[in-house]
């Protein structure tokens, strides 16, 4: 009961003290506001990068091993990889035969071509030659129409499945299905539109600005059966089997390439893991910078609050004396000033998360990456603000609580 009455009175005093000094309070919160914007934006950016990465990761597939000429993330000397031979369709075919009945093997080749439908032109769109197995490997499916089928590949059909950006760019609001369009020199019939993937992450591929055609047609139109740069995806029967599959793929590829035991691999194995490493180092830098900015802002903000709390305690020395004379204990005075400081910071925190939400909308609108403010982030930010308030307020509040009532009553 007594504690409750005490807390209510302290809250009362704190609120009326802040209300009496509104302008000062607002200025004081500025540092906290900046700090909280930094905290919230850092966490939001972190979330955004993670969800962007998850999208890419889903497209790559956690249970898929990719055989390519180059590693995705080149660590070390690029020149070592430069003289490697391309992977070609014969090697892809040999690998498919080797894993027949064990794992799904899907070759892809890609190039950039200009697309044209009537007067609409899109330049430099990624054209991917692949097989009907792509949806199994990457779990990307068509939204409307259908994906490539076995006979499209077998009969080298001039059919194409397009990404959403391409559909909007060339066809606008009309349905692209069964329309004839030009991809470079050849005509293709649209048979499907892929699901929207969204998010062009850190200069990675824009999955919505791609078109898919049968790899056989690709070779027929753009050439490269014996020297084209093929990427081969091998999907493990389960995510646990990826490790074993990787060794088997290396073994088979060395056989196909007839490498002697002393020779290094002249191809690369890529997996989600290798992307993960790169992602983590980027995220690490962002987090580090964010954390640094945040701590500096909150520190400076906290010092500002501490300063104003010293002023507040000094201004109310006499009031403290009166309260003590009529029976306030130390902890009542301490609580009064701690609450004042915590509330100032709480207000700063609320303004801060408001601004951060706007910043997040800005990031989203700019299309740099998907950013979203979650309730968890907001609550965390507000809690951080109040913790800063309590820390910043403690020394001034302690000073007030320790005042000698006789001295304090004499203070003018």
């Amino acid at each position: 009961m007594r504690a409750l009455v005490d807390i209510r009175e302290s809250l009362n005093i704190a609120v009326s003290a802040i209300w009496a000094n509104k302008a000062r309070g607002v200025l004081t919160t500025l540092g906290i506001v900046i700090g909280i914007v930094a905290v919230t934006t850092t966490m939001t950016a972190f979330n955004g990068m993670q969800s962007a990465f998850r999208q890419s990761a889903a497209a790559v597939g956690a249970d898929v091993v990719y055989v390519s000429r180059m590693p995705w993330i080149i660590m070390g000397n690029w020149w070592e990889f430069r003289n490697r031979p391309n992977l070609n369709m014969d090697e892809a075919e040999a690998l498919r035969e080797a894993f027949e009945g064990e794992a799904i093997v899907n070759p892809t080749m890609d190039t950039r071509q200009d697309l044209k439908y009537r007067s609409e032109i899109m330049e430099g769109v990624t054209v991917i030659g692949t097989t009907e197995k792509l949806p199994i490997v990457t779990s990307r499916l068509p939204e409307t129409g259908r994906f490539l089928m076995t006979y499209d590949v077998s009969y080298k059909k001039n059919v194409v499945v397009i990404g959403t950006t391409v559909a909007e760019g060339l066809f606008g609001t009309t349905s692209p299905i069964n329309k004839e369009m030009n991809i470079g020199p050849a005509k293709f019939r649209v048979i499907g539109v892929m699901e929207k993937q969204g998010g062009n992450t850190f200069g990675g591929p824009d999955f919505d600005r791609q078109v898919f055609i049968p790899i056989s047609t690709y070779v027929k139109v753009y050439g490269g059966r014996h020297f084209g740069d093929v990427d081969i995806a091998v999907k493990a029967p389960s995510p646990d089997a990826v490790e074993d599959l990787e060794y088997e793929v290396i073994g088979e590829m060395r056989k196909i390439r007839k490498l002697r035991p002393a020779e290094d691999n002249d191809f690369s194995i890529n997996k989600l893991d290798s992307l993960m490493g790169a992602f983590n180092s980027v995220v690490g830098v962002v987090l580090l910078v964010g954390l640094l900015v945040t701590s500096i802002a909150l520190f400076v903000g906290g010092i500002g609050v501490m300063n104003i709390m010293f002023v507040s305690v000094t201004e109310r020395t006499r009031e403290i004396g009166i309260r003590k004379a009529i029976g306030a204990r130390r902890h009542s005075i301490l609580l009064q000033f701690l609450l004042e400081s915590a509330i100032i910071c709480l207000i700063g925190g609320l303004i801060g998360i408001g601004l951060a939400t706007l910043v997040t909308f800005g990031i989203n609108a700019s299309g740099m990456m998907p950013a979203s403010v979650s309730p968890g982030i907001l609550v965390t930010s507000v809690v951080i603000a109040m913790v800063v308030g309590v820390f910043a307020g403690f020394v001034p509040a302690w000073k007030g609580a320790r005042l000698d009532p006789i001295e304090a009553l004499r203070y003018e």
């Binding site: 007594r2 009455v5 009326s16 009496a20 009031e319 009166i322 309260r323 204990r329 006789i406």
Partner: protein, 247 residues
Amino acid sequence: MAAVLAPPDDEPVLQLEDVVKTYVMGSEEIHALSGVSVSIEENEYVAIMGPSGSGKSTLMNIIGCLDVPTSGRYSLGGEMVDDKSEAELADIRNRMIGFIFQTFNLIPRADILHNVELPLIYGGVGRAERKARAMSALDRVGLANRVSHKPNELSGGQRQRVAIARALVFDPQIILADEPTGNLDSRTGAEIMQMLDELHANGQTIIIVTHEDDIAAHASRSILLRDGKIETDTINPNPVRSAAAGG
């Protein structure tokens, strides 16, 4: 009316035995009180007098439990207070002592009712009872119609009456008034003194610290301090009573 928690009849409300207070200022020791012994009975009306530097402020601070003696014993309401912790002293000030100051010492931002409620708040009294007791105390000083005013909207005399209501609200053992009329004109001062006289008539123990003889003349006993010692302790057989209603 005054529901003072009376100690047993033979025990004084307040008793100081050989109280010494020494301050150290730089290398110098200052003996503010050097051996003061006094006991005050229930419903006494005592004036503590003395020139500045006589130690009367120090004595008042010790009696008011704002300070503790360097040596000697002090009991209030039958309880020894010289070895209490700071929190216990706060509780004693809260419940046993009603302060009235020369400068009123009201909280400027709080309204009158809240000012009077404050001791009850720190004493943990619930809202409804708090409000009722504060209202009744304000009623006693004739300010029940001003409860929502802020102190700066009242005259000096009214402010001091609010302070008296605040001092009374917890039914303290003693009222300790430090130059209660020092900041008031003589007419308003007389009104305040009349109010203290009435409280005394209703059974309240009152201690007034003053240097004015005509204020001390209201008391039935007058203690004169000089150089940290009691010089005289005299009974005033005919205390002045203000011409109440006429004044």
